[in-house]
């Protein structure tokens, strides 16, 4: 029998208790988060969620020993520098909060570009000097203009998914371009026997908004087309009825308080159209008023 230190047992026991006492257990990756930023994020989570860093083996043990059905499968989602998050928030909300708390960070040599990194055209803060050569060396079109270094064209310096080189990282930092995002990556979250991976946890608010609008439009269409009177559809049904009545009155040339001006104007414009054609043949065929 090998001996397990007391503190190790305690730590597993603590983790286990946290697992049992929270509705939601998340598996996060803390890789690349500088210490001070991590402290800040922890503080921000306070009251909503608890972040626990521990050794992989301890976390695995705690998850395995938990009485919660299926929670053990969370250990398949350990990545980078794993940590557990405990909360009673809806896992989708947890994911959203973590995503929103991510901050910009300078490019690190050797990391992967999360998207196309573009150096935009325009003035820089640099006075003429060796940096001009450095810019040009990595393919950024730059020149000196009015005593300043100016980038003449937008330039994609690293394509999405490519590695960021040391030179590029240095230049991006000096240009104050911070293409990286750091923060707590929620890889997966467990709630009520189900493990939701990050792809499921991503909420598209734009889509929710457009779905609501689509649903409303369709409901409105149905109620207007089927002539079902609701507080939303009735104004449109009125407008439809009015348009139809106006069409009938105008097409049948029936003068009413609402059609007479339009019918008079129609006669007038028709007269102008005919007069236009006539005067094109012979200007004297129309009276002076119509000659132009």
């Amino acid at each position: 029998m090998h001996h397990v230190a007391e503190w190790k047992k305690d730590e597993v026991k603590d983790l286990k208790e946290l697992i049992e006492s929270h509705e939601v257990v998340g598996m996060a990756n803390l890789a690349d988060i500088p210490g001070p930023q991590l402290q800040k994020m922890r503080r921000n989570l306070k009251g909503n969620a608890t972040l626990k860093m521990s050794r992989k083996t301890f976390m695995s043990l705690a998850l395995e020993e938990s009485k919660k059905a299926n929670v053990a499968s969370l250990k398949d989602h350990m990545k980078g520098q794993p940590a557990l998050i405990f909360t009673n928030m809806n896992p989708f909300k947890l994911y959203k909060i973590l995503e929103e708390s991510k901050t910009e960070a300078p490019a690190k040599p050797g990391s992967t570009a999360p998207f196309d990194i573009v150096v935009p055209k325009g003035d820089t803060a640099f006075k003429p000097g060796p940096i001009l050569g450095e810019l040009q060396k990595v393919g950024i079109p730059a020149k000196i203009d009015k005593g300043k270094i100016v980038i003449t064209k937008d330039k994609t310096v690293v394509a999405e998914g490519d590695e960021i080189s040391r030179e590029i990282a240095s230049i991006l930092t000096r240009l104050d371009i911070h293409p990286m995002e750091v923060g707590i990556d929620l890889i997966a979250a467990y709630e009520d026997q189900t493990v939701y991976t990050s792809d499921l946890l991503t909420i598209d608010e734009e889509k929710t908004l457009s779905d609501i609008q689509k649903a409303f439009t369709q409901a409105l269409n149905l109620s207007v087309n089927a002539v079902i009177f609701t507080e939303k559809s009735t104004p449109y049904i009125l407008q439809n009825a009015h348009s139809k009545a106006m069409n009938l009155a105008l097409n049948a040339e029936i003068l009413t308080s609402k059609t007479r001006e339009l019918l008079l104007a129609k006669a007038y414009s028709q007269m102008l159209a005919v007069a236009g054609e006539v005067s094109a043949k012979n200007a004297d065929a129309v009276d002076e008023e119509l000659q132009e």
Binding site: A241, A245, N247, L248, L250, N251, A252, I254, T259, S269
Partner: protein, 69 residues
């Protein structure tokens, strides 16, 4: 527009648009039913395909030509 609305109502209800019916509807609505205007309405609608006239967007035609002029 009372006369037009009365005509639309009868048309939608599948009833004939004649003097008697138009007057009956107008009176039920508490609107004055002027004989001459009722007759004028019937006369104006006589040669009109109501279904077509309702759907043809006349407003555009009416205002726009002036507009276009």
């Amino acid at each position: 527009m009372e006369y037009i609305y009365a005509a639309m109502l009868l048309h939608t209800a599948g009833q004939e648009i004649n003097e008697g019916n138009v007057k009956k509807v107008l009176e039920a609505a508490g609107a004055e039913a002027d004989d001459a205007r009722v007759k004028a309405l019937i006369a104006a609608l006589e040669d009109v395909d109501i279904e077509e006239a309702i759907e043809k967007t006349a407003v555009a035609a009416a205002a726009a030509p002036a507009a276009a002029a």
